[in-house]
């Protein structure tokens, strides 16, 4: 795995104010096909909220997504990447910090997000047909 963070990051990150609702963030995640919303205050990156955060900090806690604000649940302690960072550095941060998404910042401005999926799936290979199991194989199995 080689290359720079700029080559694998998702650019044009979704940015929202801390006063926006969790419900609005969920809709943005759905419409934009992302799992992370960067929380930006006064032009600066304040933190981020992931789909997982919404599940654990809102749904599991019975909080109302319409009235809960991103500012109430966002993660502020962030490890940051630069677009020029090596992909290996990003992978090391993901492992060491046990995080799945890292904001990419250039000159103080959020320019992207790197997710663990971008790292693990950053390669090309083919899948032999024989190992693909469809629903006919899986349906009907009774889990322990």
């Amino acid at each position: 795995m080689t290359g720079k963070v700029r080559d694998i990051m998702s650019a044009a990150p979704v940015c929202m104010a801390p006063t926006e609702s969790v419900s609005a963030a969920a809709k943005a995640m759905q419409e934009r096909g992302v799992g992370t919303v960067l929380v930006v205050s006064g032009g600066r990156l304040a933190g981020l909220v992931t789909d997982r955060d919404i599940t654990v900090r809102v749904l599991a806690e019975n909080r109302d997504p319409l009235t809960t604000r991103l500012g109430d649940i966002y993660t502020a302690e962030l490890a940051l990447l630069s677009p020029d960072d090596d992909v290996r550095y990003a992978a090391r941060l993901v492992r060491e910090r046990a995080v799945r998404r890292l904001p990419v910042v250039a000159d103080g401005i959020p320019v992207g997000v790197v997710s663990v999926g971008d790292l693990a799936l950053d390669s090309n290979s083919t899948v032999p047909d024989a190992i693909v199991l469809g629903r006919t194989v899986l349906n009907g199995i009774v889990p322990d």
């Binding site: 759905q30 599940t55 663990v116 999926g117 693909v132 469809g134 629903r135 009907g140």
Partner: protein, 127 residues
């Protein structure tokens, strides 16, 4: 690295019933520290639901936490064998654009392997 799927999967998959609530599914994911649970209906595997599914299929659609979780499930599941190389799981995830695969062993679901379980530092051709 020639890790097998069984070496990297999360064993003992957690299940919820189709009619259990979205809130219960969220608390199950929180309490067990997992991002996906199997959905069971009539004692058979119905599908799989992830933390992301709860957000984009429930919160984004203004569904409340008391509604049943079953309808949020993904049903066309792609599985992988516990004895397969981890590289096979990577390839399947890429091919089908999914982040998690149920892991089969002896005709049962033995675990779930997530994209986050796979080693991001391993060279692609040796994952």
């Amino acid at each position: 690295m020639n890790a097998k799927v069984r070496d990297v999967m999360t064993p003992g998959p957690i299940g919820v019933d189709y009619y259990q609530s979205i809130g219960t599914a969220a608390r199950t994911m929180r309490d067990w520290g997992v991002g996906a649970v199997l959905v069971v209906s009539d004692q058979a595997l119905y599908g799989l639901v992830t933390d992301r599914d709860l957000v984009v299929r429930a919160v984004a659609e203004s569904k409340g936490p008391d509604e049943p979780v079953g309808p949020l499930s993904s049903r066309d599941l792609v599985g992988v064998h516990a004895d397969d190389d981890a590289a096979v799981a990577v390839a399947l995830m890429r091919e089908h654009a999914v982040g998690r695969l149920p892991v089969l062993e002896d005709g049962q679901v033995a675990g779930i392997v997530s994209v986050a379980d796979l080693d991001p530092l391993a060279p692609p051709d040796e994952v």
